[in-house]
Symmetry: C2
Amino acid sequence: MNDQTVEPRRGTRSAFVTQQVRDMITSGELTPGSRINERVLVERLDISRTPLREAFKILEGEGLISIRPNAGATVVMLSTEDVEASIEVLIGLESIAAEHAARRATEAELVELADLHNQMTQAWRDNVLMTYFHLNQEIHQKIVDAAKNPALSRVYASESARIRRFRFAGNRDPERWARAVEEHARILDTLRRREGALLREMLRAHHLSGWGAARRALELQQEDEGQGAP
Amino acid sequence: MNDQTVEPRRGTRSAFVTQQVRDMITSGELTPGSRINERVLVERLDISRTPLREAFKILEGEGLISIRPNAGATVVMLSTEDVEASIEVLIGLESIAAEHAARRATEAELVELADLHNQMTQAWRDNVLMTYFHLNQEIHQKIVDAAKNPALSRVYASESARIRRFRFAGNRDPERWARAVEEHARILDTLRRREGALLREMLRAHHLSGWGAARRALELQQEDEGQGAP
DNA sequence: GAACCAATTATTGAATGCAATTGTTTATGA
DNA sequence: TCATAAACAATTGCATTCAATAATTGGTTC
């Protein structure tokens, strides 16, 4: 390995920088509401402004940043209400997916989901929150994918990515985390038994309690920030 | 027409060219599957490649075109199945919206919808398909907006735009067209009476029969094209 | 005449330079 | 001292230029 530079940077610079900035936003490195300076990012990522500005357009379409003409790009600040609205949409999309997935999921998909669930359970036992979180997201996406509706998969992936970082806080509480793992086991069991209507309700309940936990964590977090920087 | 130079072209060139190309795709001027030559569009719209390429990134995010590195942009070709999948998503999104809209719609919104409906009915009487079509789309968007969920409105608008041109063929049949107007009247009535569950079912039925008509029209159209250019 | 390969052309990707707009600072007067 | 305006600096928008990649043409050989 170690080709030319340290980073792989495969594909176009535009795609590279898009992923980089996206990660910076998701990880919280670029804080919501803050303005993004083109020059700074250009120097940091060692690319020109052209691909960066193309990335901005993409990320604006994804709803991660907001571009005002002649006034630069800012990371969108989502209120609790905004996130809750998105969650509601995600629940709705998964509801649509649930009944179709219960009917159309292939055996291979069920096996793959079982495998992902085992990995996720292991991540929970090992207390590796980030790994758990990613596997969790992947499982939900796979359930939606099992509905065999490309438009649904695309919209779900997009909306899910938009509020990803807000949901990360959901499993801070160990008790809630343990229950989430349990719920997942039952959800996959219901999918295996192909009980669509029940699956739909379980997913809804799962998301609602998950979001409830995340919201509480976020509110605490915001209070801390409010006290920390007056 | 042909007032390209006379146009105001307010806002950034990027926004301008994005709308131009979007219209070209929606109107069918740029045919699905065809490759888009940057130079040609640049000369036609009298702008440089930079804002055009930014527009490409936006339109790719909207799902209207596909960009392959070093191979240019092509208008996405959607199969009947793809469109049907999107319709299913749109129905799902409107289902989510219906119950909330029935509860949260303001009197002002109901008045505005009634006004739009009158305009639309007039367009039907005048046999102005394009005007009817736009008002129709606007009404459905307004119903979704009445649910007061910004994320839902955004996702619905995006997905609706993606397959707009495929639904245009829906009201070619005069009988179906007349029934669609009737259905709309009943739908708005149900919204006024705030019967969410019923509204949901009416919207679903409305879309399914509308899509059925559009699909038949599209299949005929495709057969004609197949015979026309062997 | 067909197939293969090299050279040329066309097209896309990215960097740079310039113009236009906005935000900031400083000077000036009330 | 505060408000206002003018000059300045910083930043963005866009056009142009250069580089890299893909497509095409022409020629040679079998």
